[in-house]
Amino acid sequence: MTVNQTTTGQPDLIDVRVTRSRRNTLWSGLGALIVIVVLFRLPYFAGPGTTGIMIQGLIVLTLASMWNLLAGYAGLVSVGQQAFLGLGAYFVLIPAMHGITPWFGLVIATVAAGACALPLWWLVARLRLGYFAIATWVLASAVMLVVEQISSIGGGTGMPLPGISGYDPAVLTADTYWAALTVAVLAIGGVYLLLRSRVGLVLTSIRDDEKAARSNGVRVGFARLLVFVVAAAGCGAAGGVLAIQQLQVVPGTAGGVFSVQWTAEMAFATIIGGIGTIEGPIVGTIVFMVLQQKLQSYNAWYLMVLGLVAIVIAIFARRGLWGTIDERFNIRLFPVGYHLWAPGERRGRKRAAAHTAQ
């Protein structure tokens, strides 16, 4: 009886369904799996040169995904992510100096960089947007200066990475590649799962209206802290891979692990690809790597061109390349929002953008 009443009381709601995506995610999931398998097999048929470039690309991809999580979803525009990249590199170096293999060092680097983010967050948590950006920059500089004071880990000149001297170069490149691929896949997967969880919903509510979210009891500060720590851990892992790839850790702002160029690369890749979408950093990294390979004989020109492209996209196509594709074709490889199906609406029929949440 009661069941009947509720259904007759809300007759309009019978036909309403809510799903993650307008399209079937099975195909895109299968596609992602095939891509990962192909990428996994790459060292068997590509030369060490190509594999080396791919390692760089995967490092940038990991960094860009983390920066996208910070800036695109939590509104935290950090210009100091190189601090965590550098710390990650050092947290691979230090255990390696005590006989721990760098591969396990990657795990240490991830956890330790995340742990370092906790006290640093406490310093910058109050600041917003522009002030947050510069404060993270100051923090990164301070972290670098402190690290450069410690002479036992190379001081201001850096140190070669011990513990991998016995490797065959080809095997080392392949192993590094697989480590980089694992880190990148875990980073993107982690961001995807995080955004699908409650935290993702909290972040969306903060982005739409922070005061309203706060007054509804949303733990705004905790969500931001979580994102900051996760992004730091991801950048730490990428820094660890970088240390293994370069076989050394060099501090300093010019070309070293604490260079702001790293944040520039991750930010530009994210913006070009499309900030605030998980696919954006992937597309952006591909564009980034192509540009870098084309312009690498012109030294720092590639970063200037990238900066220019990023500025133009930030002004004229705010959602980036992927955002433009998504608007046109309504494709989401990694759906994190919900779609409310109107009564009678079916898959594949006219696009009803108004119904698509997020």
Partner: protein
Amino acid sequence: MFGVMKVVNLAHGDLAVVAGYIGVGVIAVTHMPVLWSIPVVVAAMAIVGYILQRSVIQSALSRGELTTLIVTFGLSIIIENGLQQFFTANSRGLGVGDTFITDSFLIGSQIIIPYLNLAIFIIAVVVLLGLQQYLSFSRYGRLIRAVADDREAAQLSGADYRHVFGIAAAIAFGTVAIAGMFQGMITTISPTLGTDTILLFAFASVVIGGLGSLWGTLLGGVILGVAQAVGAQFNPSYETLAGYGVFLLVLVVRPQGLISQGATS
């Protein structure tokens, strides 16, 4: 610029360096004395500021603060790498030939004060005073404050806010140009100096002094300078670290700054 347009310009320090390099170029071409080249550079930077504001920054501003940050960060990276391409990474100084500038005088027997540093401190205070008077009493000063208070209302009264923002940017760029020239005169300038030193320390002074307080910023600058000098006494490599240390300490202990705005926070 921070106050009027609510812009945090991440390229601010790099603009000072650009001004320094323009100074190097102007002196190399015209062979004019360093002091005379300052007005030329300031005027050039003011024009650059107006154009940049009307073209790039304005369109970024109308798209929100995130876009503004991204655009100014992009500018910062482009300027730094561009300067490195054209002027190499070597540092340069603005040669100061005048003996007045290289001389110094003594207070007591211990403290040596070069005339140049004293002159720069006085000029900094004069510029601050002048800016305050200009914003308070001149026609454009009133316009700038009106637009900062309420853009729509000012627009209804006939003010073209884009032009006013352009003027404000021109003033900001001109002030930055003075700073860049002084930097080149005291020590040297290099492409990465803009963020490594100028932007981060400018920001640290603002935070130490208290956001939005003009005189607080001056106090913050003095405190930073003293902290660095004291740090350098222990170990030359502690100089910058001591400055950051004071900044972080203020951030933890008194986040509203030493001269707080009272009720606003």
